[in-house]
């Protein structure tokens, strides 16, 4: 290849690799919260970032876990390498085989296997379990970078030292250790990097109230990323970039630290082991950076973070309440206000779907105090004896809840002794007036070829099956196999028309004019209409799902009184109003509704539809494990078709 082509190729590859990064940096200056819209230049996210304790805590947790797990893995791994080196060949091969398991296994298998272990041992998921998991997948990296160095060391020097009267420990420290040090250091750095970047294993081993940057971002992906995240990653990226420049500018260090990390990353897999022998002679400059500057920088960062962190989470006392709520389903100010007024510390964890929440409650590996499931899931939890009856004497504010919704609640909580309604709404069609010419009043429009690739469907079993069953004129709680099969076939027929199956992303996509029609929850519809006035919400005439999300207390809750205080607080008119304004889902709280200033919203058809519109609507019922499996089966057939 001639020179210009080489350069051109290089530049094209750089564009490919950096286009998304540039996008993220641009988004960090976007004043609109939606990814799909450019709202003008702003620096706000950067200033808000440092005040956002949730993000800063996640950053700190990420760094602490990375540092601790790398450190412990380095100690265990280096010792192990020396031990393995002294083993007989057959046993050594066997041990190295075990060492390779975490590297050859898919992350998802490693993560799940550890989760199964922790749950079986009744470990409380949290910081400790993440740390254990990270150490586990880090040790092999250390062993694989130390072993080749050990092989290169000359045994005779060690023996010579012994012959000259050195104790084995002294001989090791003065003769062997300096030789293997580059391997140890690169093992440490490699482990640190891998821990920083891990998402899948952390996802399966984390518990409530603790997030690393990866898990925090993943939770936000569904509901729209908080732009502070873009700002944070821009800052992190620039830091690393500047660090790299500085290191590479110094003439002494020809083999820079980061490229050595890079070299080590390259050697992740067993076959890459060879590449470690590459740099036997390490230069003084890079050693200085590796041994002194980098660790010092990391320790300073963590120490600063530590001070910040401890100032944030001052109370470690047991006076707390562990809340498990839907993503983006409560105004953060409400939590702060609750903490200030009661002195109870709130540990807040979010879930994406009822189906993700349920197994966690059932396994009881985490003792949540107060959870916010939907109607059918509450019924299931009651039937499986997972809930504690509420003491309504501690929840006097329940008088603020409109009796209509309490009566509706009897469908899933017949004795009204387990649940307090929090939000309710309907499932309907959000459409873009400029893109849809036909009248929208029936589900049938979702099967209209005209809107091919312009339709967004809900990516959840019950909603997708439910609206199809309604369209067919059946109950959305049917267990009749032939009706379900009919719905399945209809959904398969619809699939070529569907642009994507989404949960909360429907919001961003509809705002950004990405699709003409989307199946959406009424609460999201209000938010979308505020951002994009061309959008209109309809409950189709065939009827739909009306849902209620209510607060319940699991049987194994450790802080029941605090949980009841929390529920009572949420039922206060002013608090319910605050939450309504933040999350825009309809509130069953009549005191709050009366306080809404804007008459357009107080009497909005979307937020508070006329009861006549709801006559064909049903709540979901829990249908039993077998029927659940049947629904899942049908849905999977649709998805994999």
């Amino acid at each position: 290849m001639r020179h210009p082509f080489k350069k051109l190729y290089l530049i094209l590859m750089l564009i490919f690799l950096y286009a998304p990064i540039a996008t993220l940096i641009v988004l960090s200056f976007n004043s609109s919260k939606s990814r799909a819209k450019w709202g003008g230049f702003t620096m706000d996210w950067y200033s808000q970032l440092f005040q956002d304790s949730a993000v800063m805590n996640a950053l700190y947790t990420t760094l602490v876990i990375a540092l601790l797990s790398a450190l412990i893995a380095t100690i265990l791994g280096t010792a192990a390498s020396i031990g393995i080196e002294g083993m007989k060949k057959r046993f050594r091969t066997f041990v190295m085989g075990i060492t390779n398991i975490p590297m050859l296994n898919a992350d998802i298998v490693t993560g799940i296997s550890l989760m199964l272990l922790f749950i079986a041992l009744r470990f409380t998921m949290g910081f400790a379990t993440i740390l254990l998991a990270h150490i586990t997948f880090n040790i092999p990296f250390v062993i694989l970078s130390v072993m080749p160095k050990l092989k290169q060391t000359n045994r005779s020097t060690f023996e010579a030292a012994l012959d000259l009267g050195a104790s084995p420990f002294y001989a090791f420290r003065r003769v062997v250790f300096p030789d293997i040090l580059p391997g140890v250091v690169s093992g440490f750095l490699l482990a640190f990097t891998m821990s920083l970047d891990d998402f899948i294993i952390t996802h399966f081993t984390k518990g409530p109230g603790i997030d690393t940057l990866s898990t925090k971002i993943y939770a936000e992906v569904r509901k729209g990323i908080n732009p502070e995240m873009y700002a944070l990653s821009t800052l992190l990226f620039l830091t690393v970039l500047i660090l790299l420049f500085l290191i590479n500018m110094s003439p002494e260090s020809k083999t820079a630290t980061p490229s050595s990390i890079a070299a080590q990353i390259a050697s992740r897999t067993p076959t890459g082991e060879v590449s470690f022998s590459q740099k036997t002679e390490s230069r003084r400059g890079s050693r200085f950076v590796m041994r002194r500057v980098l660790p010092a920088a990391i320790i300073v960062a963590i120490a600063v973070g530590g001070i910040f962190y401890s100032s944030q989470s001052g109370s470690t006392s047991d006076n707390q309440v562990i809340v498990y709520n839907w993503g983006e389903y409560m105004d953060p100010d409400v939590i702060t206000q609750f903490e200030e007024e009661t002195g109870i510390h709130v540990v807040y964890e979010e879930f994406e779907t009822n189906e993700i929440m349920y197994p966690k409650i059932k396994s009881q590996s985490i003792a949540y105090d107060v959870v916010c499931p939907s109607d059918y899931m509450i019924q299931r939890m009651i039937e499986n004896d997972l809930l504690a009856p509420l003491d309504y004497d501690n929840i006097p504010n329940i008088s603020n809840i409109d009796s209509t919704y309490l009566e509706e609640s009897r469908q899933f909580d017949p004795s009204l002794s387990y649940s307090v309604p929090y939000c309710w709404g309907t499932v309907g069609i959000l459409y873009n007036k400029t893109m849809v010419s036909d009248p929208v009043d029936s589900w049938s429009i979702l099967w209209n070829d005209k809107y091919k690739n312009n339709i967004l469907m809900q990516d959840s079993v019950r909603d997708a099956m439910g609206i199809t069953l309604k369209y067919l004129g059946y109950s959305l709680n049917t267990t009749d196999v032939s009706q379900l099969e009919e719905a399945r076939d209809l959904l398969i027929r619809q699939k070529p028309l569907v642009q994507a199956y989404v949960i909360d992303q429907v919001r961003d996509k509809m705002i950004g004019n990405e699709a003409a029609l989307g199946v959406i929850y009424s609460g999201e519809a209000i938010f979308c209409q505020e951002e994009n006035p061309n959008l209109e919400y309809v409950i189709p005439k065939e009827g739909s799902n009306i849902w209620i999300d209510s607060w319940v207390i699991p049987k194994n809750a450790q802080h029941k009184a605090n949980a009841e205080a929390f529920i009572n607080f949420l039922c206060r008119g002013d608090i319910a109003l605050k939450n309504f304004e933040y999350i825009t889902y309809s509130t069953p709280n009549k005191a709050a509704r009366e306080m809404i200033d804007d008459p357009l919203i107080r009497d909005s058809d979307v937020a508070f539809p006329d009861p006549s519109e709801l006559v064909n609507c049903e709540t979901y019922r829990y249908l039993g494990d077998e029927n659940d499996a049947l629904y899942n089966e049908m849905w999977r057939e649709v998805k994999s078709d």
């Binding site: 080489k6 190729y9 490919f16 950096y18 286009a19 998304p20 996008t23 993220l24 010792a79 192990a80 020396i82 031990g83 041990v95 050859l104 898919a106 998802i108 298998v109 799940i112 296997s113 550890l114 199964l116 272990l117 150490i135 586990t136 084995p168 990097t193 998402f199 940057l213 990866s214 971002i217 993943y218 992906v221 990323i225 995240m229 990653s233 992190l236 970039l241 790299l244 020809k254 820079a256 890079a262 990353i265 390259a266 050697s267 992740r268 897999t269 076959t271 082991e273 060879v274 590449s275 189906e355 197994p359 690739n453 990516d459 994507a500 004019n513 499996a629 999977r636 998805k639 994999s640």
Partner: protein, 277 residues
């Protein structure tokens, strides 16, 4: 005289690690085996493992296989010339360029993948750009192509690095000798450079293929959840369908599948450098 006891002491150093490995690697695997081979009532069954043979799952596995093989091939085709160019241009430049190609890995991979959504969407950056030239917008997002792109993008550094490393270490004298003996550039490549770089290539293939085969995040974000890969099915059986037995059974199958394909790969690592099997 001292050596035997010495050897024994040394071995003890591996003790803590072995304990750790048993507790957090072996036992968790046994848990997966347990769940994989039992049903809801704890009775022995093979139905979970056989679950892979259902039409849906086979299809997902097949699709995962196709997409990850394509991604691996694309990565190799992109990375090999790149590594060679980097070596060519790199003299005296202290590997800085390599770092530039690895740097994106320090940005969170979820965010990077999200950013591709913004680029590929119907009204995304690329289509806006095309429309400036009066070109028809392309359907980019939510296609298998988008998933392949996401895989290539995320795993490319894992292919560049091992190849770059092995090319770096290659003895220049061997190449010069080949040239002196009259080999054409093409012959030098096919007879000398390529065979010598094979361990790096295999390392790269392993590191791209395994994560690509098992990912569930990339297919979720760039495939619009319309395209189910085997990773998605496993993840959903744990987090949505609440069926850990089926999930474990499928994980086992996936694990066995990966181990076999790795064994197959190792055969081509003729020098046997660092092979496990």
């Amino acid at each position: 005289m001292r050596r035997p006891s010495q050897l024994k002491n040394k071995k003890l150093l591996a003790g803590p690690y072995l304990f750790w490995a048993v507790a957090f690697v072996i036992i968790p695997l046994i848990m997966i085996f347990y769940y994989g081979f039992t049903d809801n009532n704890g009775a022995f069954t093979l139905t979970n493992l056989a679950g892979i043979a259902s039409a849906d799952n086979l299809k997902a596995l097949g699709l995962s296989l196709v997409l990850s093989l394509i991604s691996t091939a694309v990565c190799l085709i992109l990375a090999y010339p790149l590594a060679m160019i980097l070596i060519d241009l790199n003299i005296g430049r202290s590997g800085f360029l390599v770092v530039v190609f690895v740097l994106p890995m320090w940005m969170n991979f979820l965010l990077r993948t999200m950013a591709w959504q913004t680029l590929l969407e119907k009204n995304g950056v690329i289509n806006t750009f095309l429309s400036l030239f009066g070109l028809e917008p392309l359907a980019l997002i939510n296609t298998p192509g988008a998933i392949v792109l996401g895989m290539v993008y995320n795993f490319l550094p894992f292919m560049i690095l091992p190849i770059y490393n092995i090319l770096c270490k290659m003895d220049q004298d061997v190449i010069n000798a080949a040239r002196d003996l009259g080999a054409s550039p093409r012959q030098t490549f096919t007879k000398i450079i390529w065979p010598l770089s094979l361990p790096g290539v295999i390392s790269g293939i392993t590191m791209v293929f395994i994560p690509a085969l098992t990912t569930f995040v990339i297919s979720d974000l760039l495939g619009g959840s319309k395209i189910l890969l085997i990773g998605n099915i496993i993840e959903q059986s744990f987090t949505q369908a609440n069926d850990w037995h089926v999930g474990s059974g499928l994980s086992l199958v996936l694990m066995i599948f990966i181990i076999f394909s790795m064994m197959f790969m190792q055969k081509y690592d003729k020098n046997g450098e660092g092979g496990v099997f």
